[in-house]
Each structure stands twice: as C-alpha cells, then as structure tokens.
C-alpha cells in the first residue's frame, strides 16, 4: 500500500528539531529507524502530515559509560548494540534483547530509543529497561528532563513524551558487582514479536541473597510493558533456591494480563511467563557467577 502524502524535514541539530516539533505540534512525527513508523504509514494506520527525520543530527549515535550510567544515544541502532564491546561485556541482557528483535535487516535500521518511544507493549526493550531501572532523557522546548522508565508507559501505545519532546538518550545505571541479567523471549518463529518475554536483573549480596535492586519486566502480556513489582518484592532478600525461583515465577505470571490473540490463548501466555521467569532467573544467577 501507499502512504498518504506528507511534508518532510530533516533538521541538522537537536535545537532545530525541537523548534520544528514545537511549531508543528501533534501534526509532526519523529522518524528515527522508521521500522515501526513506516509500516504503519504504509498500512495507513498512521498518516502524519509532517515527518521530522532526526537521522541527520550528528552526535546521537553514542554508546558510552559516564557518571555511573551506560548511555545510549537516540541514533544507536540495534545492530550497534549487538556489536558494542562495552555492551557485550557488561550488559549481556541487552545483547539477549537486541538479538531477538526482528531480523538483521530491521536491526540495522531500528533504534533502541525508538523501540521505547513507540510505546508498543510487544517491543522487547521496554521489559529489559524496566528490569534495569533505566532512565529516559527527554529534550523539549522546556529543556531536558529525566523520566524513570517505570513511569514512561502510561497506556497502550502511549509514552510520557510530549508531542514536542525527543527521546535523546537512555541511561542505565552501571550495576554493582555480583549482578546478572537475562532476557528470554518465545516467539512463533524467528522475527516475530514475543508471545511472551521476560527480563530479569538481579544482584546478590555477600551472603548470596538477592538485594533490593532486583528487576523483572514482562513483554507483550498486557496493554503496557509490565514491571512485575510483586515478584521483585518477593525475591528481595531471598536466597534464590529452586523453591524461591518457582514461587517468584508464579507471582510474576500472576502479574501478567495477557489476552487471547493470534499468538496464543491467554492461559498459555501466562504459563509462558511462569516458565520464562524461572528460566531467566536461573540464567541471571549463572551470569552472576560469571557464566554467559
């Protein structure tokens, strides 16, 4: 199908982009990787009158560690994340996540920030960012602000961004030692959105118990990405033996709100959350111990 016609601007700086967005208001849509926006326009599920392409803005494709945070700039592609030595060595959970998104062709274009900005509960990064306690940096006419990712997804396909704000950066706290994380996703076939996905990040204290930093995020089992707060609270301070893992996974499953759809019946998906949570915790524990 053919998208409706639209105006197109490609600002050269963030300031220019913000000014344009402010002027155009809700008429404008930001284009980054285009891997969600263009298909929607092609199917005419979205027909924005004006496209503001941020791809020409220099200096937004960084992955760096600074002031206790891993920082991912707005134009970092999924494939950059996969290839980054920093990410590979410190955040295997991010490699887990990016490597199960779509296919290599999509990943060469799609941005990590766009993955959050799209607000799709089927996207994979939101759950991981929830587990990691990430912070979204938004820039707009009123300057910059930090939004904790747990406040970033208020409703279906909605984010905390204003129409004139750009998601400039994702900040992820550098984890303390004895931390491990994993993201597991089940899909009908390679390249599909998740039937269910679970991200787990845990840090153990000296006695081997889970610290307060535990994070558990769920993909595509509700209208928004879900932070499994009860399961998180449960694991805090616990030795994660088999019984605790089992119980935590059952609590997480209880926090999911899947619906029947083409990916399967709700009950089946709830079951998957349970199975995946248990497996992700086990994988995370292995990684605490230096496993891969």
């Amino acid at each position: 199908m053919i998208p409706r016609s639209f105006e197109y601007s490609a600002p050269g700086t963030l300031d220019e982009a913000v000014a344009l967005l402010q002027k155009l208001g809700s008429d404008a849509k930001i284009l980054s990787g285009g891997q969600s926006l263009i298909p929607m326009m092609k199917l005419r599920l979205a027909s924005p009158p004006h496209i503001v392409d941020i791809n020409r803005i220099p200096g937004l494709d960084y992955i760096t560690e600074k002031d206790g945070f891993l920082r991912i700039g707005a134009l970092v592609r999924e494939s950059d994340l996969e290839r980054s030595e920093l990410v590979r060595s410190r955040f295997p959970i991010l490699v887990d996540t990016t490597s199960v998104i779509a296919d290599p062709l999509v990943r060469n274009q799609a941005t990590v920030c766009g993955n959050l900005a799209h607000g799709d509960p089927a996207n994979d990064h939101p759950a991981t960012m929830l587990a990691l306690g990430a912070i979204v940096v938004a820039v707009g006419p009123r300057g910059e602000r930090d939004v904790p990712v747990e406040n970033f997804f208020p409703a279906l396909f909605t984010t905390a961004l204003e129409a004139d704000e750009i998601l400039r950066e994702i900040k992820i706290p550098i984890p303390p030692p004895s931390t491990g994380g994993a993201y597991l996703k089940l899909e009908r076939k390679v390249g599909d959105y998740a039937t269910a996905g679970v991200a787990v990040q845990i840090t153990l204290n000296n006695s081997g118990a889970c610290t307060a930093a535990a994070g558990i995020g769920l993909t595509n089992v509700g209208f928004t990405p879900i932070k499994a707060v009860k399961a998180e609270a449960f694991v805090k301070g616990k030795q994660l033996d088999q019984a605790a893992v089992k119980q935590a996974s059952e609590i997480a499953a209880g926090e999911s709100h899947p619906v029947d759809d083409i990916r399967g019946p709700a009950d089946y998906k709830r079951d998957l959350v349970r199975v995946l949570t248990a497996r992700a915790i086990v994988r995370a524990l292995e990684r605490v111990k230096g496993g891969v």
Binding site: L186, K189, G191, P265
Partner: protein, 811 residues
C-alpha cells in the same frame, strides 16, 4: 504413442543429469520479465474496490465521485460484466465484480483504471457503496445448521455445496472381519500458498480489436476460455500469455476477477491496463487449502492388514465453488493407493462459508486425508504393538494393480522409500527409545502424476507440443505449459535435446502463449512433466525419424544405424562417418520441405467408470516416505524439528537437482502447514481475515527450516517419459503427519490437528498429567444425513468399475 520410450536404448546424455534450468540465468540476473515488469506505452493502472463486509446485498453503487477525480479514466461495476464464470463447468458462480451480493471480505465490487496507481488507489475511497448486511456463515457447523441466508442459490441444499457418498465393496463385511476397529477425528486447518510474486495482469486490445492478456497464471488455457465467454468475444481473438510465475502452488490456477477486469477496462479505454495485486489482496484471492474435518473408521487384522475403511470429510469451502467439487472428491480418492484397503467407503461434504474461497494448494485435497490416515495408522501400530514401519511395509499396494476404487497403480516404490529412510535415520535404534522430549516418527504419501481427466471432458489431448527445426540447426519447442518455477520449460528442452542428440541450451523454448503454442491444460495436478514430456518425446522422435531418413540416404548407411549425439548424426558402426546436426536438418528440409513435427499426449482410459470416478485416476502415482526427529520442550510445548529424512519415488529424475529442489520445497511447505500456518478469521460474525500480511501470517524461514536428507527412488514407470513420475506435490504429503507422529514419540501426546502450535502440545501434556487422554484435537464430527451410496463392486469382487444399479443393491 511412445510412452516410456528411452530413445534408442543408448546411454542417456541429458536425462538424469544436473543441467541448469534454461531460465536460470535470466532469473538470477533479474532479467526475467514477470507480469508486473511489463510496461506498454499509454498504459493505465487498475485497482479493485473490495467489499469490507462479509455478506451483504449491494443496495447501491455510486461511482460518480471517483469518475470525476482527475486522472481516473474508467470505472466499471458488476453490471458491466454480467456473465458468470468459474474454473469448473459445475461451479460457474463467480462474477468479475459482484452484481447484487458480496460473499466475503475481499469480494470485488468495482474496478478503476487511472493514469497511475496512486490515483487509482485514491479513487477507491470515492466510490460509494451501500450494503444491506446479511447474517454470516462462518464454519462447517454453521453451514450445516443454518440453511438461511443462502450464500449461493445453487448447490446440494442450504449452504451445502456438495455431498458425495461412494462405497466400494461391502464395508460392513470388512469391519466384521476386523480384530481391531479404530475411529478417530482429525482437523486440518486451512492455509494459503504464499507465492513470492503477487498476481499481476496486463491487458491490451490491438488495432483489430484483438485482446492480449499477460498474466501470472498457471492455467492460460482456462483463462482463455473464461475471457472469451465473459467478454463475449471470439476465442480466436483472445491471446493469453502466461508470464513466468513467481511461484504458484495452485494459487494462480483459477481464472481471476482482476484478469477479466483489466481486459474490460482496456476495451473501454482503448489503452493497455495493468493491475498488480497487493499482498493483502493475494490473501483474498486465496483458493488455498480447505480446512477439513475428518472422521476415519478403520478395521484391521492383528497384523495390521486393513479390512475396511470408512472415511468422512467435511470441507469449509469459503465463498465460491472454485475447484471445490474436485477438492471434495480428492479428500476421498488417494487413501487406497498406499496400503491395501479391500473395502472402502467415502463420504464428503463441502460447505459454503463467508470467507475467502478455498481451492487447490499443493497436494490438492490430499494432504488433509493423508494427515488423518498416517496418524491413524500410527495409532493402530501402537495399539497392536507393531513397528509402524514394518506394519506399513507388510501391507503395501502391489505394483501393477487396481485398487478397490479403480485406481490403476503402475510402478510402486514405497517399499524402497520406507526402507531408505528407516536405514538412514537409525529408526530401529531410536523409535520408542529416545529420552522424554525427543521423538521420531514416520509417515508416507502418494500423489498423482496428472489428473486422468480434463476439467472440460473431451477426447482431445491434454498436452500438445510443436517442434520446429530450421536449416541453421535451430530447434524450437512450443508448448502451452506454464513454468511456475518448477522447471517445466527446462524439462521440454532436456527431453528434446536427449532425443536429437543436442545440447539443451541449443533449444529455444516457447511456452504458455495461446496464440503460438498448442494447448497444454496447465500447471496443476503434477501433470506437466509426464504429459508435456510424453508429447515432447513424441514430437522429437518424429523429427528424428525425418532427419534419420535424410541422413541415412546421404551417408548410404542403414536407417537403424543412424544415431544422434554430440550435435551430430552418424552411423553407429562408423562413428567418424556423419554430419553435423545443422546439416542433418538441411538434408531433411531438402528432402521433405520445412521440418515441423507435433506430439501430443492423452492419458490412458480410466478404469473408474462410476460417477465421481473422474477424480483420482492418473497415469502414474509417485510415492514418498519421511521420518522426522523432533525435540519438544515439555514446559512450553515448543517443537523443534531437528532432521527430516525423505525418500521419493519419482520414477526417473529428468533432472535430479530439480527433483531434489521440489522435495525440499515440499518439506518446507509441509513444515509450515504442520507447525504454524493458519488462514484464520477474526470474529464469529464479522469474518475478517486475521492477518492478510507477511508480517503476521507465519511461515517458516531458513532459520526454522531443518536439515533435510533427500533420497530419490527411481522405479521407472512405463507411463512416464523415460519413466518419470511427479515430484511437485507428493513429498509434501508425509510432512504434517510425520511431525505429529514424532511428537507422540517424544512426549506421548497426540495432536490430531494442524497447525500443531505449542499451546496445543502443552494442553495435551497437561491433559495427560491430569489422567485424561493426552490428546488435542476435535472430539467429534457432525452427524448428518448422507445421500444414498453409489455402490461399486471392487475388482476383487468381480466389479467392472461401474456403479451397481440401485435395484440390484437393494435386493
């Protein structure tokens, strides 16, 4: 007729060798012209407005706003093309554009021609259609329970399109002899062809008002017929050229509304008109696999010998007839050609529903019953404590025999197929011996090498070939067959090259053009290699005869000594004495005048002389056996197919690489049907296709594809050219049941339906854990009144292939 001829008995130079395809270079370098690639001066672009409601009367259509949009040249609606059509003479139930009623979401109601695609697309939203919605029929059960509203005003009754009932021998007597009787119910979900190329067509009326249509169709001959009739022009003024198909799989075998619409628009506007369907529209064209519910009752002796089988099938046909009557018979036809079934009853029903029309997809109506049969055989072996491979091998249909339903089996390589995969897979060490979660299964299949009867019954050949030889040594083969990627153009070249002793790439192949080439019925029912191959063989042998006479005279050598090889004709006893091929043609032309020969092929008469016996007979049957090894995750129900071993009896591989390609492609397609593909609809009332897109309609990728070990069994069949049988469809048949059987071996769960999605496997595991039957699938089939059976005495009972008259049956 020179069926099964092998030339002069000299060693084969081309046949059986892995030559590249004659069109491979063009395909690989992007030079092949598909229908959408063709551009003509002053060409317009067409779009169809399709119904967004599933079942409704059309109260009013107003096209005036669309017509007044700048760039729109013509708009037509149903009343412009009042003559109905349909692929089968008994189901002429389609209109190019719906006249008073729409029957599914996607049914076209208007067509627009505009200066470009964007304008045509914009104009669609300017056509005002007022619908009066009707209640919908969404399933077989609903069609059975609701006679009103009727989707069509023809058919057997209410929303039942067709009901059939055939009985071969006394089935009750057969069951009385059985030691074990099993009754099982199965469901096979519908799925679609998914060709890479979307359908496209381009029409042009020339200065003499003659029509040419270029179209990605598998059946130019039938499109030709439909165009002449619907457009009311002389067939001799219609030329249909089938462009190379970017995949067909049966999805381009009907005459389609878009093809007729562009012709009409071209006639009105006096300009060429092109249409290329969107992927979404391809899902609406469909004609794919029928969803089929099946109930199978089989009686066996303790050693697994079948004493009788009673097979019922219920087909969800969608909104139109298409090939459906044939599909219905096919769900009951080929059960008998693998394991001996001495007495057999078949009851089949096809329902109309308000969904995209079903039709022929690779295997046409036979993968569904094969799925049921092969799983039931597995269950029987399990219950009798027999090895399913051994049990099958003990009761195979013998070669050169006649089945209970009068199908004549010629060569039969299934025993060799089973043996091959059993040995290669380590079956004996693995079956029932792998750890929980891993399993191995076996299934078989068989398919026709071409339907024995044409769609329009007549006594003319099914396939014709003309061969033209020119004095430069050029050879041109002309044949109506359509290359849909399977390699049929290449087969023509290989066979002619073999007979004339030249290189396949010396030959020009002109195909699928109703003006230039003699009729071939089309690329369906796996008929092309056998039928066009025999026709080509005959034409080539006739040409060789002429050349032989001229060369023998020139060389002063005995006629029977003249041999053709290496682009030469020579005396086999004095190979140095000979002439080049071009000179041989010159000599023949000087002696006989212009050299052109013809060949044709008509299948042998069928033994099945009863009504309904037109479906099933074939000159030859191919056989396949497959073994799959799977790993099932008992926590998630996810099945990973790790390896497939498949052996296929192809008679003789004309080109082994092309044969292997078809086998692997069939395995791939079968895996999609087995595990994920699903032509599913949203909502019970509002029957919207759930995912008419490649993003959501799931089909395996290279990453899901398992390793396949292919073995070719070559039991030459006297009916085929050089002994060749089909390979395009048969190897798909064992795949869905082989996966189901392997899953049973892995986790003890019977999934009696496809697609076998993880949640179904998991539900079966759960049921087993709760002490229930570890099974997922339909629990029952509808109890309905069937028409009285047409009784046919079996060959063993002394029958003659005709139905026993009613009064005799009732005595």
């Amino acid at each position: 007729m020179s069926n099964g001829s092998q030339g002069n008995g000299k060693p084969l130079k081309v046949i059986g060798k892995p030559f590249r395809k004659v069109d491979a270079r063009a395909k690989c370098t992007g030079q092949t012209l598909f229908a959408d690639d063709i551009v003509l001066p002053r060409m317009l672009f067409a779009k169809l407005l399709r119904s967004h409601v599933p079942h409704a009367f059309i109260k009013r259509i107003d096209v005036s706003r669309a017509l007044s949009l700048a760039g729109v040249v013509a708009v037509i609606t149903g009343k412009d093309l009042p003559i109905p059509y349909g692929i089968l003479p008994v189901s002429q139930d389609e209109h190019t554009l719906c006249i008073d009623k729409v029957r599914f979401i996607g049914d076209p109601v208007a067509a627009i021609a505009a200066v470009d695609e964007d304008t045509a697309f914009e104009a669609l939203s300017l056509i005002d259609v007022e619908y009066e919605q009707l209640d919908t029929i969404g399933s077989i059960e609903e069609a059975l329970s609701k006679n009103e509203p009727r989707i069509h005003d023809y058919g057997d009754e209410g929303n039942i399109h067709k009901k059939v009932h055939l009985e071969f021998g006394s089935v009750e007597e057969g069951f009385a002899e059985a030691d074990l009787i099993r009754e099982d119910v199965f469901f096979y979900e519908g799925n679609t062809h998914l060709p890479m190329e979307q359908h496209a067509a381009l029409a042009r009326f020339d200065a003499d008002n003659k029509l040419t249509l270029w179209s990605s169709t598998q059946t130019p001959h039938y499109v030709h017929r439909a165009l002449a009739r619907v457009l009311e022009i002389s067939p001799s003024h219609v030329r249909v050229i089938a462009t190379p198909n970017g995949g067909g799989f049966g999805g381009k075998s009907d005459p389609f509304n878009h093809e007729i619409a562009v012709c009409k628009l071209s006639r009105i506007t006096g300009r060429p008109v092109k249409i290329t369907l969107t992927r979404e529209e391809v899902f609406y064209c469909h004609r794919g696999r029928h969803p089929v519910l099946m109930k199978v009752k089989t009686g066996v002796k303790k050693d697994g010998a079948i004493t009788a089988m009673d097979f019922q099938s219920f087909l969800d046909g969608g909104a139109y007839g298409s090939y459906g009557v044939a599909s219905t018979f096919y769900t009951g036809a080929l059960q008998t050609v693998t394991y001996q079934i001495p007495r057999y009853r078949f009851r089949g029903l096809r329902a109309f529903t308000n969904k995209a029309p079903c039709g022929p997809k690779r295997g046409h109506g036979t993968p569904q019953p094969r799925f049921a049969l092969e799983i039931q055989i597995d269950k029987i072996a399990d219950e009798l404590g027999l090895d399913p491979a051994e049990m099958r091998r003990k009761h195979l249909v013998p070669p050169n025999s006649l089945t209970a339903n009068y199908l004549r089996v010629g060569s039969m390589g299934l025993d060799a197929c089973i043996e091959k995969v059993v040995d290669a897979s380590g079956w004996k060490e693995k079956f029932k011996r792998l750890p929980y979660g891993r399993g191995i299964g076996l299934a078989c299949g068989s398919y026709l090498s071409g339907a024995g009867l044409p769609i329009y019954w007549n006594n003319m050949p099914h396939s014709g070939v003309q061969l033209r030889l020119d004095r430069q040594g050029g050879v041109c083969v002309m044949c109506g067959s359509t290359d849909i990627g399977q390699g049929s153009d290449s087969i023509l070249a290989y066979i002619v090259a073999e007979v004339l002793g030249i290189d396949p790439f010396d030959i020009r192949v002109i195909t699928a053009d109703t003006d230039l080439t003699p009729v071939d019925l089309g690329s369906y029912s796996s008929r092309v290699t056998l039928m066009t191959g025999n026709a080509a063989l005959q034409a080539a042998e006739r040409a060789r005869e002429l050349l032989t006479l001229a060369v023998a005279e020139k060389l002063n050598a005995p006629i029977e000594n003249i041999t053709f090889a290496e682009r030469r004709a020579f005396d086999v006893e004095h190979p140095e004495i000979g002439v080049g091929f071009a000179q041989a043609v010159e000599l023949a032309e000087a002696k006989f005048g212009t050299i052109g020969t013809v060949g044709s092929y008509t299948p042998p008469p069928s033994a099945a002389q009863f009504k309904g016996g037109g479906v099933g007979p074939s000159p030859a049957y191919s056989y396949s056996a497959a073994i799959a090894e799977v790993a099932v995750d008992p926590d998630t129900g996810i099945t990973k197919v790790e390896q497939i071993w498949i052996a296929h009896d192809v008679g003789q591989a004309i080109n082994p690489v092309l044969v292997m390609g078809q086998v692997e492609g069939s395995v791939y397609m079968g895996l999609g049907e087995a595990l994920m593909e699903d032509m599913a609809y949203r909502g019970k009332r509002n029957l919207v296709h759930k995912f008419p897109s490649l993003l959501e309609y799931k089909s395996p990728t290279t990453l899901e594809m398992c390793d396949v070990k292919t073995f070719l069994i070559q039991e030459r069949d006297s009916a085929g050219p050089f002994g060749a049988k089909e390979v395009g469809q048969g190897p798909l048949l064992p795949i869905p049941p082989v996966i189901a059987n392997a899953i049973y071996d892995a986790v003890g769960v019977r999934v009696d339906e496809v697609p076998i999605t993880p949640e179904k496997v998991l539900a079966g595991i759960r049921a087993g854990a709760h002490g229930k039957e570890a099974r997922y699938g339909p629990s029952s089939a509808p109890e309905i009144t069937w028409p009285e059976a047409l009784h046919v005495a079996t060959p063993a009972e002394g029958g003659d292939g005709r139905a026993v008259p009613r009064d005799v049956v009732h005595k």
